[in-house]
């Protein structure tokens, strides 16, 4: 037995045992037992994933476990990346969940048993190696996450609505994946992945395209890609924060995994010249998602909803990388394809690290204040210094500015996109500059978003009594945040430690050699000119910052210091109502992008009874509706509701009639069979 197999069995075994422990353990120790075992399970999975990325593999076949198809598990390098990411997220979230579940009343048997099952299902998806196994794990993951999303449905009615959206969309996605993979396996010997790989070369381009689009719809909806993102900004804010972290940092990644697995590995889309349009589609949808997601995040004021939209943005960026890799690979430029894929995979790792941290800190804020609207927060620095530092670090990592983690991956992505011009045909010549512009715009809006979230949410003065009373979270939650924060710092300063492995995996996916060369602390690109040394860049930035601060200090001490009152326009005292709010911070952006967002604003002025020149009250309302949702989903929902009302006439409540329906339907089916045979 090799290391991968031992680690994977440990992860699965501990996960299953902790689900049992969640049911049986006494309430006093339940969250601790479950939390620690999720962490252990995640650590084992991370070990397995890293070992698989470095070249070890494992195959487990259990033909009798599942009727008809059996269970086939294979750990390879691509699955290893996602296994390692999910495991790493579980390590941080497991410990965090101990304190969070206890504080939020989530220590009941149900939640504590489902939580480890959810983690285990997510660990099994990237190692499933047959259609039956993948669909089973995927459905287990969807169901357990749904149960966790609706965990707090008794206390807030919005949770139930979010749960309905999530349930419907995740199952429609499941149906799409089911159709795609069943068509695929109908053309192969059986449903195992090796058989599918053998069958891929014999597929006609139309069937291959159909399989890719059908599975892409399902996997894309899981990744929160526009226009299938509608569930994401609903379910992520309403789920408990440790579940949000798991969903946003680990589960959505598996959507990308599905697209890469089916597109590159199973269908062999990298070698197939006819498949260029698949990757063009992926790249375009990724770019649109990135811009749309970050725009909604920049306007939003609900902290967790904002983070949810940011997930759509980051998955969009990852898919830009994946789509570019596919386009380069089909046009024969393999080193550049490897570079784009490495950028996408590194961005997945970075996103998992900082989104875990951000959702955990948002959960701490929620636990301490009960508020999630940025306009009600502020001034948390005094009461929650560690959480504030954690969120600040996560915000820096998410902003794509040095020395943040996302800077390295977005730099790699931009390098791949800008160097792609001379290689491919006309479509690439048009798409690549637009993609560069989209990535750049996204990076800029991300900075505005996270400056807003951090500055308005954590600094200045508290805007509500709850925010003023906020106290720091328990040690278990801080430990969870500390692990994620350490990962963020490590990925920002020393991406050179993970990049050799990721580069090799990315090269293997597209069929090229390693697109990156690591030279000490410096990343060098193979095939195109370009190098970056994140550690040196950070040190230079720090030196520059220290020199500026020292210079200012020296200049300031030349004059005598004078104590002065904080300027409050002379009227004083300063109050929280004078502060910048999240709404006002985002207002200029809202004006600039008004054509896209179409915010609804409403001002009601009530005049005094004595004179129309005297104003009694002014009421201002602003709502930024999700336009895609309004245009795309509301007509469909309305049509379905109308259809349902029409169908009601068929159900008058008579049992005889229902029996008749069944009888005639069966007869009709039998006649149809007789006629068509």
């Amino acid at each position: 037995m090799n290391l991968v197999l031992v680690a994977l069995l440990t992860a699965g075994g501990v996960g299953a045992l902790s689900a049992v422990a969640g049911l049986l353990a006494p309430a006093r120790v339940r969250t601790a037992v479950v939390g620690v075992s999720i962490t252990v399970s995640g650590a084992a999975a991370a070990v397995a994933g890293v070992a698989a990325m470095t070249g070890q593999g494992a195959v487990v076949a259990l033909p009798d476990l599942l009727p008809l198809s059996g269970v086939l598990i294979t750990v390879d390098a691509l699955g290893g990346v996602f296994l390692a990411i999910t495991g790493g997220v579980a390590v941080a979230v497991g410990i965090y969940g101990i304190g969070y579940c206890r504080q939020h009343g989530l220590n009941g048997r149900g939640v504590q048993a489902v939580l480890p099952l959810f983690v285990t299902a997510m660990l099994l998806v990237p190692v499933a190696a047959s259609v039956g196994t993948l669909l089973l794990c995927w459905e287990l993951m969807a169901l357990t996450s749904l149960l966790l999303v609706v965990a707090e449905h008794r206390s807030r009615p919005a949770v139930a609505q979010a749960g309905r959206w999530y349930a419907v969309m995740t199952h429609l996605g499941m149906v799409a994946i089911l159709i795609g993979l069943l068509v695929f396996s109908a053309n192969a010997v059986d449903g195992s992945f090796p058989a599918l790989r053998d069958a891929a070369s014999g597929l006609s381009p139309t069937v291959a395209g159909l399989i890719f689009v059908a599975t892409g719809i399902g996997f894309g909806s899981k990744a929160g890609i526009v226009p299938l993102h509608a569930w994401l900004p609903r379910a992520h804010p309403e789920a408990p924060s440790n579940v949000s972290a798991l969903m946003s940092a680990a589960m959505v990644n598996l959507g990308v995994y599905g697209i890469v697995r089916v597109g590159f590995d199973l269908l062999g889309g990298a070698q197939d010249g006819a498949a260029t349009w698949w990757w063009l589609l992926v790249l375009t949808l990724g770019a649109v998602s990135a811009i749309y997601g970050i725009l909604q995040a920049a306007i939003g004021t609900n902290l967790k909803r904002l983070l949810g939209y940011s997930t759509t943005e980051n998955m969009g960026l990852v898919l830009v990388g994946v789509g570019a890799a596919g386009m380069f690979a089909t046009s024969g430029d393999l080193p550049l394809a490897g570079l784009a894929m490495a950028a996408a995979l590194l961005h997945l790792v970075n996103h998992a690290a900082f989104k875990t941290l951000l959702f955990q800190s948002a959960g701490s804020v929620l636990a301490a204040t009960g508020r999630r609207d940025l306009d009600d927060l502020g001034g948390l620095r005094a009461g929650m210094p560690a959480t504030t530092a954690a969120f600040g670090l996560g915000a820096l990592a998410a902003s794509a500015l040095p020395p943040g983690a996302a800077f390295v991956s977005e730099w790699l992505l931009l390098q791949a996109l800008t160097h792609g011009l001379p290689t491919a045909g006309a479509s690439a010549a048009i798409v690549m500059p637009l993609a560069v512009a989209a990535v750049a715009l996204t990076a800029g809006l991300a900075v505005a978003t996270f400056v807003k979230a951090f500055g308005i949410g954590f600094l200045a003065r508290p805007r509500s009594p709850e925010a003023a009373r906020a106290a720091e979270s328990p040690p278990s939650m801080l430990t969870g945040m500390g692990i994620a924060a350490a990962a963020c710092v490590g990925l920002a300063l020393l991406p050179t430690l993970v990049l050799p492995t990721i580069g090799a995996v990315a090269g293997a996916i597209v069929g090229s050699t390693d697109p990156l060369q690591i030279d000490g602390m410096t990343i060098r690109l193979v095939g195109v000119a370009g190098s970056l040394s994140p550690l040196m860049l950070t040190i230079a930035l720090m030196i520059g910052l220290a020199a500026t601060l020292a210079g200012v200090r020296v200049l300031a001490t030349r004059r005598a210091a004078r104590a002065a009152r904080l300027w409050d326009c002379g009227a004083g005292p300063l109050s929280a109502r004078m502060e910048y709010t999240a709404t006002s911070f985002a207002e200029p952006l809202q004006r600039v992008f008004d054509d896209v967002l179409q915010a609804e604003q409403d001002v009601d002025v009530t005049h005094a009874r004595e004179s129309s020149y005297l104003v009694q009250t002014i009421e201002y309302r602003r709502r930024v509706p999700d336009r895609i949702e309004r245009r795309l989903y509301e007509p469909v929902l309305a049509a379905m509701a109308a259809w349902g009302r029409a169908g009601r006439a068929l159900a008058p409540g008579s049992v005889h009639r229902y029996l008749g329906y069944g009888f005639y339907a069966l007869c009709g089916l039998l006649i149809l069979l007789v006629v068509t045979r």
Partner: protein, 161 residues
């Protein structure tokens, strides 16, 4: 937009011709400003007559900016305070705080008769006193309201240009 450009070109310069710098003693601190004085205006209880004249003094005709005087939006940015009107009860404390907010060295200019000696409002119940009763005044501009030329002349004593 094009019409605006045409108007600007057709109108040309409307500023009064520059006169030689005014004689007379200027405040001692004015020499430290080196010909450029940033000014924060405070209305301590004015009838807005003086404000109209200040607006004219900084307008295109009298153009105080060309002599180095400039209105700013915060006392933190200012070298001098331009106070108009009698000091009312409501504005006495904000006026003091505004003065404290101005970095050293700083000057106070009292514009108009109300600011110098309460003018027609002397003895009214809402009045604390003239500006000199609240702050150390360095320069006074008489008149009710003072003419824009008088305001520009006084500001040129501060800038020395």
């Amino acid at each position: 937009m094009l019409g605006l450009w045409r108007k600007i070109r057709a109108t040309g310069r409307v500023a009064e011709p520059a006169t030689p710098p005014p004689s007379g003693d200027s405040p001692a601190a004015a020499t430290e400003f080196g010909g450029s004085v940033q000014i924060r205006h405070v209305d301590a209880g004015s009838c807005n007559g003086c404000e109209v004249e200040i607006g004219a003094a900084f307008g295109p005709v009298y153009d105080a900016d060309r002599y180095g005087a400039r209105l700013v939006a915060s006392p933190r940015h200012a070298d001098a305070l331009l106070v108009t009107g009698v000091v009312t009860r409501n504005m006495a404390e904000p006026l003091k705080r505004t003065f404290e907010a101005v970095p050293d060295p700083k000057l106070v200019v009292a514009v108009g008769d109300c600011a110098r000696n309460c003018g027609v409002f002397a003895g009214a119940y809402g009045v604390v006193g003239a500006v000199g009763d609240v702050l150390p005044v360095d320069l006074e501009i008489p008149g009710c309201p003072p003419r824009p030329e008088a305001i520009v002349d006084a500001l040129r004593k501060l800038t020395g240009r």
